[in-house]
Symmetry: C3
Subunit: 370 residues, 3 copies
């Protein structure tokens, strides 16, 4: 019985799941951020091992079932039953769902399958890319209005994938922004203009600050489109120093999680998220969390799974977090590093309390779970 | 009984302590490098846990006393008694005190409180900023003379906080230096000119080489003013390759401690310091030390606490180093990695011997403690 | 009995050994990547401890013999007997030998001493530097022909030591390449021209793709000539994204092994090598391997020793890999992370199978050892 066992999680950054059965190739593609899934064998990785160990029993198979056995059983049960089992066993009370990727299920549909409540995380690049306007002024106004009007629980930017995280401390000038918007209106489809992107992120920060919503950034580990260096969260330093009005969440972070922890240490508005690495690093989850905790205040660390497409990822995020953080905390209790009460509080805060504190309208749930 | 238990430490980089009782807010501010100390709760961190675990018993409280209990007892005893207890229990024979920050106590006053002997570490930027002169030539001469005349045990540069560690391999030309000095005399108050800064560091290196004093650099983890990337010790590579005449100590280093260990491996004049992270990482101290030892020669690693303002930091540097390095070495002895005699020698060298070797006039003390 | 014990290794990147007895100074120089070997004492490092622990018994000394005892016994036995014992005890079936450094022994001579079979790894910079030609066209043609005609098992580039790993995604234009070749013919002796270097690496990639040979890159940890930042494997991202036609092996990697593991995760043509760090990190080998395995697919990780000059390095690569990976896998088996069969397969693949798969003509040996 670890102190993490009964924490009702807030999965503060995830995506929807596929609503069909999958082939072996499609499943393998879900186990990697690569855009290919032939060689190397994706089951032969920390994540693949974790699926066999932790997910197989949820489908009534023995732990460490073979990939072939797993996939056969998965299709016997059918995607809906598999998804229900895996998501429900994750023990999640709130799903914060980035609706910009893996959109077969809406936040509500994900929660219908998995229990708990679904909330949208709005990808700000998509807001701009989806907005039509007759003039630059209209475009900028409409984007700002869309952000303000959104019911999203948080905003998210993928600028780390585009121009990189080296955002300016200040919002670009009105004139530069208008010119960039005009260029965009003459034929943009994918936001890559650094001026317009900087304006958008500053605008989202402003709206976030006004409306009590955090701004999440993709940082660190991601797919083959990324230049990992440009996604180092430290590149955000000037932006973070200037924008202390808004809560910022650094997603994923690995292998820059220690630098992210430094940012969370020196800027009280910054939080570090554990998602993506928690499921992908498998049995190494505890080591990555421990490195993050070296410097990050415990109130500035947040659980998520970054689960997408395969409900196995959502599930593994939760069970690996419970198992490995639980084990780390048990060791620390045994060594006299902290008390059981301290450990319990840490687990509840990282597991959900910290995320709920920047989504105040959900705070009732936090009290319920205590 | 670990091999680290009876090492008389050389705290080769620390600062003075406050000489007043502190409020809860002031204490919390001392537990962080952030410039704010409200939210998140600074007690809820590896460092905060370590205060409750290790410092509370020194004040006659049970381990893991609450923050409120700790602060109440601290003020009951009064700052002087608390400071005496915490510093003396650290078991430090020599304090190398950077007199450029947290200056309520001089090196001698710190040693009066904590036992052992105090020595000044001279911050070279402060020397220049405090020098008045009628001409560029006079300024440069006076700075050089002040460095030469100083009784400091070592020099320290904070260029990592200003222009960054990318110092040129060569001293700027006389003409460029004179022009930079003239600009400075027309109204500088905080040294940020890269030419004048490069001259200053090269001058300090030259004086250090001539007089047998090491040159310490702030690298890695520090406060919210920092751009951590620019404080990566690897940026010093060209400078270190060119200036093999002077002993250089890379302070703090985290999260770049492995890169710092590489520099200590390839340049025999370079040492890696463990300070700041040893107290801040709390129970993770052993992991950080182990990563540093992967590549750094054992004769090129130095203990310090970077203690400042709160004597708790000085104390925790020592007890965490003893506990966690002691444990690591015990594990290694148990696994046959090294002998008990090897472990003892490593502990004595890192704990003080290595620092004393670049302060030859103190070496008598090293022999005493063996 | 660990699952790594009986793996016949493929040392997929090493060098030749000295064919003379060595002085204490020469031996110390072999224990470091520094270009000096006086102070600090090179025996007092993780590598030095590992020599005393693991190599001393191979020379009939007790584990942890002193350096003086070790060196005396080493010279009593003579270099040939010492080398035979250390290399044979490594249990290596194939030696992939970079013939651009430490060339006293050819690949065949190394294998004669150590058992198994020797194969050449061809350093592409040396091919160009050794090629004479009367015109640019002739130079480029001859280099290409030399690569094609080579019997090498793999190519290797040290561009990380020269202009750095920031190679362009595309081969330079014919005109730029010809001009660069003309400049080279007017007096080059050491390849540093970025255009000609980029052409050379692209040409080697093309020939590698055509002839089924991997292209190895020096990345990360190396000697004092290096600027470690410029050897960060992530700088290769654009090149790797563009050149998915050729197998690429990232050598050494530390302290950037997690970034290297990301590249191996997102690009299925990329492998991560463990060499150099495995012997140098000594008892920390297990930690470095574990960090690499967080994200690298198991089929994309390769054993090597990077042994050079001293056969102790080749030996320690093997015994440390067996001991520490074996221990990590035993722990994981005990914790239910994977099955014994999974662990055995991982050990065989990393130990040799993965390297043999990109050297198809050697694959018969892989089947033999299974």
């Amino acid at each position: 019985m670890a102190v993490t066992d009964d924490v009702v999680l807030v999965d503060q950054h995830c995506h929807g799941v596929l609503v069909t059965d999958v082939t072996a190739e499609e499943f393998a593609a879900g186990l990697t951020e690569a855009d290919t899934a032939g060689r190397p064998d994706r089951w032969r990785s920390m994540l693949g091992l974790a699926v066999r160990r932790w997910c197989a029993p949820v489908l009534d198979l023995p732990a460490h079932a073979t990939p072939a056995e797993y996939l056969a059983r998965r299709n016997d049960l059918g995607w809906r039953e598999v998804t229900r089992r895996l998501l429900r066993a994750a023990g999640v009370g709130h799903w914060f769902v980035d609706t910009g990727y893996a959109t077969d299920t809406s936040p509500t549909e994900l929660a219908d399958l998995g229990g708990g409540t679904g909330h949208e995380v709005l990808r700000v690049e998509q807001v701009l890319e989806d907005t039509t306007a007759g003039s630059a002024t209209e475009l900028l106004d409409r984007v700002g209005a869309a952000l303000r009007a959104s019911a999203a629980v948080a905003f998210k930017s993928v600028v780390g994938y585009r121009g990189g995280l080296g955002l300016p401390a200040r919002r670009p000038s009105e004139r530069d922004t208008r010119q960039a918007a005009e260029r965009w209106l003459r034929g943009g489809t994918r936001l890559t203009d650094p001026v317009l992107h900087a304006w958008l992120v500053h605008e989202a920060a402003t709206v976030g600050a006004e409306t009590g919503r955090a701004l999440q950034f993709h940082t660190g580990f991601g797919d083959a489109d990324l230049h990992l260096h440009r996604a180092d969260p430290l590149a955000l330093t000037d932006f973070l120093r200037a924008r202390r009005d808004v809560d910022v969440v650094l997603l994923h972070c690995w292998p820059y999680h220690r630098g992210a922890a430094y940012l969370a240490h020196v800027f009280d508005t910054v939080s570090v998220d554990l998602g993506l690495m928690v499921p992908f690093a498998g049995a190494r989850t505890g080591a990555v969390i421990a490195e993050t905790l070296e410097l990050a205040p415990f109130e500035s660390v947040r659980y998520s799974s970054d689960g997408n497409l395969l409900p196995e990822i959502h599930h593994l995020g939760a069970v690996l977090w419970r198992h490995h953080l639980g084990r780390l905390l048990d060791e620390w209790i045994g060594d006299g590093v902290l008390t059981a009460a301290d450990a319990e509080r840490l687990a509840h805060d990282v597991g959900g309390g910290n995320a709920l504190r920047s989504a105040p309208h959900l705070l009732g749930d936090l009290d319920d779970q205590r």
